[in-house]
Symmetry: C2
Subunit: 326 residues, 2 copies
């Protein structure tokens, strides 16, 4: 597989991690927007034995290189257009989430996807973390009975953020940049579509980061009366062991499955136990498999588009202060 | 202090626990509604050296006994009227929560309270649990900085429930019967009033219990942009160590305080620690102090009425499926 990379933001380490352990994919070229550190990216790729050409123009790069896959991970407002351009040429796209930061971008992208023979993954990296996967599989195997409630937590360290986080024009908004992981957890764990969302967020006390929302809360009503909620914040103390305090709780008629601290615990009528963690591929490895076979046990283009849609609707509720139907 | 008791439901053990360790209060009489186990109550009182007269009529009991305090803990739909009757005679009322199950009951009760010289406590027993109290005090002492987000969990074992749980006419509804504890936690922890609520609940898969909602989710926007959320369910497995999985998380600009498993943990930029638990009086002991001095460090009549109001507005949101202003 021949790969080009556009942008040096976000979760591109998920691609680098895979390249480090395989020789069935090669990055031939990279391109960044002004303000991105392309030197770092080129050197980082060299460390995993990928020696690349550098382009100053994204469209030119795709035209000259004609790759199988493009990694799109530029500034949040650039990604939707870049993804569309590639998909319209039947180039598969592995894109930072959210792939669209406005509903207009989302709708244009949906149309392009319909007409494209290529596949899209967004970097829903948490689907591929063993503790979450173990919980999803346990729920699918019926360990909790019928699932009735799902709740989740996203709590991140704020740290130092580049300037593009300061404006909603260039940053997706915390509910779709961070919250989308929780939205995906709820969707994946419940297997239900969202019907109604109510969300609120606040950019108070954000250490001078403009529009950036430091806190958010959401409630969902889903198909079949399943309920869900999550909270999201940027106040995880710097000294905490991990960047994120990522939690998930799946409540069913016959048990509760809870992910916390990288463990999945199962509480049931017979007692409580930590579930043995299940292994799964890296997200980029799965994407290559999905491209080759058209099948994925872990993530599909439709999943990626649906969670993007749900994140945008969640933002809409937060922006308008009203409950929004999906 | 001379005490009468009306009803044998709910948290009356909080009174019995206090009577067991004191002789400055005496129960002189009890009265129950048909369908309540008055024999059990009389015998249980005898165990704590309270030998009581039994009445068949609540109004008659108050008229004959003229107590200082009445414990109101009958069926949920009976409590508001009983509380009003006592307050109108300047008898202090220690009442199961929620003291009102409809807004009409609440408004009549508010009016009666304005005209009464007596005080009211509702059985917000969780305010008096050391782990929560320790968290509240830590937040008040500024350990978390400025509080921006509060979230909570109520998860109970369903067990066997009397028939009155099956109808909203006789059961307050899960959001106000169970959820009120989480509402009080959010109010107490943040020190902010509620401005907007959105809530959903479901009575699905409730093991034949009619209207009883087995799951609920709520989001709140509070004063000064503080956000809050909680989930509530009756699916805690029977084998779990405790009846309730009661949690609270207070997120501030400089730290996070989290209550879980009866511990209060403080996470901050310097690390993480379990806070030493602070002691506080029993709720009924505090009520006697409040009556005598007019001052309370832990709970006031206004707090009890405000959390009742917030619970009813939360129910209204859940019932209508719309965001509701408070």
């Amino acid at each position: 597989m021949k790969i080009c990379m556009y942008g040096a933001q976000g979760h591109i380490h998920t691609v680098l991690d895979y390249l480090e352990q395989t020789d069935d994919a090669a990055v031939t070229a990279i391109c960044c927007e002004p303000g991105e550190d392309i030197v770092w990216l080129k050197e980082r790729l060299a460390q995993v034995n990928q020696f690349v050409r550098v382009y100053g123009d994204y469209h030119g790069m795709l035209g000259r290189e004609n790759p199988d896959i493009v990694i799109v991970s530029s500034f949040p407002d650039q990604n939707a257009g870049a993804a569309r351009h590639a998909l319209s040429q039947n180039i598969h796209v592995f894109c930072e989430k959210p792939v669209a930061i406005t509903m207009a971008q989302f709708e244009r992208l949906s149309q392009t996807l319909k007409e494209s023979g290529a596949k899209l993954y967004t970097m829903l990296t948490e689907r591929f973390k063993p503790a979450f996967y173990t919980a999803y599989r346990a729920a699918e195997d019926g360990l909790a009975g019928t699932i009735r409630l799902v709740d989740a937590r996203k709590s991140y360290k704020l740290g130092i953020r580049p300037d593009y986080y300061k404006s909603r024009e260039t940053y997706a908004g915390t509910l779709s940049w961070v919250g989308i992981h929780a939205i995906d957890r709820i969707y994946r764990a419940s297997g239900k579509k969202f019907q109604t969302v109510f969300a609120r967020s606040s950019n108070g006390f954000n250490r001078g980061l403009g529009d950036l929302e430091t806190t958010a809360v959401c409630c969902y009503e889903m198909e079949d009366g399943v309920l869900a909620a999550f909270t999201c914040d940027y106040y995880r103390p710097a000294a905490a062991e991990t960047h994120g305090d990522d939690r998930l709780r799946i409540v069913g008629t016959h048990g509760v499955i809870e992910v916390m601290g990288g463990e999945a615990r199962y509480l049931h009528d017979g007692g409580s136990e930590v579930l043995p963690l299940l292994e799964l591929p890296l997200i980029f490895e799965e994407f290559l498999w999905y491209i080759r076979t058209g099948e994925s046990a872990h993530l599909t283009t439709e999943d990626c588009m649906y969670t993007t849609y749900a994140a945008l609707k969640t933002m809409e509720s937060s922006d308008t202060g009203t409950a929004v139907s999906l």
